[in-house]
């Protein structure tokens, strides 16, 4: 199985695009959970970049980094969701736009 693949740059560009998409989600979604998921999307994009670069450099380190990113993401998820929970308890809503009592 050896058909011409695509240049590495494509993977990286895909990563960039997904990163931007994640950012877009953070910007345009109004549901806290969705925003959080958008961040996860961004992290995935970064991971893709790591992996692609690992391939490019022929090193395992990139993969290790990707692995750590996953762990961190998991940890963030746990705390993040807990925080979201408390917000929901106090506000009975996940609408981010309701969460702006702190302002000038």
């Amino acid at each position: 199985m050896s058909a011409a693949g695509v240049p590495l740059a494509w993977y990286l560009i895909l990563g960039a695009v997904l990163f931007a998409l994640g950012a877009a989600g953070f910007l345009f979604r109004r549901n806290i959970i969705t925003m959080f998921m958008a961040i996860e999307l961004m992290l995935n994009a970064v991971n893709l970049t790591f992996v692609a670069l690992a391939y490019y450099l022929g090193q395992v380190d990139g993969l290790v980094l990707a692995f750590f990113v996953m762990v961190v993401a998991a940890a963030e998820a746990a705390v993040g969701l807990a925080i979201i929970l408390t917000v929901f308890r106090n506000r009975a809503s996940l609408g981010i736009d309701e969460v702006q009592s702190l302002r000038n």
Binding site: M1, A3, A4, G5, V6, P7, L8, A9, W10, Y11, L12, I13, L14, A16, V17, L18, F19, A20, L21, G22, A23, L27, F28, R29, R30, N31, I33, T34, F36, M37, E40, L41, N44, L48, V51, A52, A54, Q59, V60, D61, L63, V64, A66, F67, M70, V71, V72, A73, A74, A75, A77, A78, V79, L81, A82, L85, G95, D97, E98, Q100
Partner: protein, 167 residues
């Protein structure tokens, strides 16, 4: 062949990524995020990172996303209502994002002009063995740190989610 695979999964990834952004229904976003992750796992395989691909599916798509879905269900977060809006975000959002994507993509093209196609199987370091070895040798410190991190995550989650009532 693997060029085709790339295109397919890249397409899936982008489309479901878009879906994450466009869906007003959190659960839908969650599911499409799972799809993104799945396709990314495939791309990892293409890049010869079997171990990461596996972890991606098991931990990420599996555990983390399940957690998300669970919370969504728990708080039965319905369609989001649009209360108030951010002028800043809606006005600048699209051009900014476009700019960001463009800039990054441009950097990539500039930095990796090498036209040689990515070939499946060229990179053989991606196995669990190699990753594991790296983890427990060169990257011992961060690995240990992740344990602390997870510990904090648990502690934090407890500290926040705990209800006095249950004492």
């Amino acid at each position: 062949m693997d060029g085709l695979l790339f295109l397919i999964f890249a397409a899936i990834a982008v489309v479901s990524g878009l879906n994450v952004v466009l869906q007003r229904q959190p659960i839908a976003s969650a599911l499409s995020l799972v799809a993104v992750m799945g396709s990314l796992a495939m791309l990892y395989l293409l890049l010869g990172a079997q171990f990461i691909a596996a972890v991606q599916v098991i931990v990420y798509a599996g555990a983390v996303m399940v957690l998300f879905v669970m919370v969504i269900m728990l708080l039965n977060a319905g369609r989001e209502r649009s209360a108030g809006a951010s002028l800043m975000a809606s006005a600048l959002g699209v051009p900014l994002l476009a700019g960001l994507a463009a800039a990054l993509a441009y950097v990539m093209l500039l930095a990796f002009p090498d036209p040689r196609p990515v070939r499946f199987g060229e990179f053989r370091e991606g196995g669990a063995a190699q990753v594991g070895y790296a983890l427990f040798t060169r990257y011992l410190l961060p690995f240990e740190l992740t344990s602390v991190l997870v510990l904090i995550a648990i502690l934090g989650a407890v500290a926040l989610a705990w209800r006095e009532g249950r004492k």
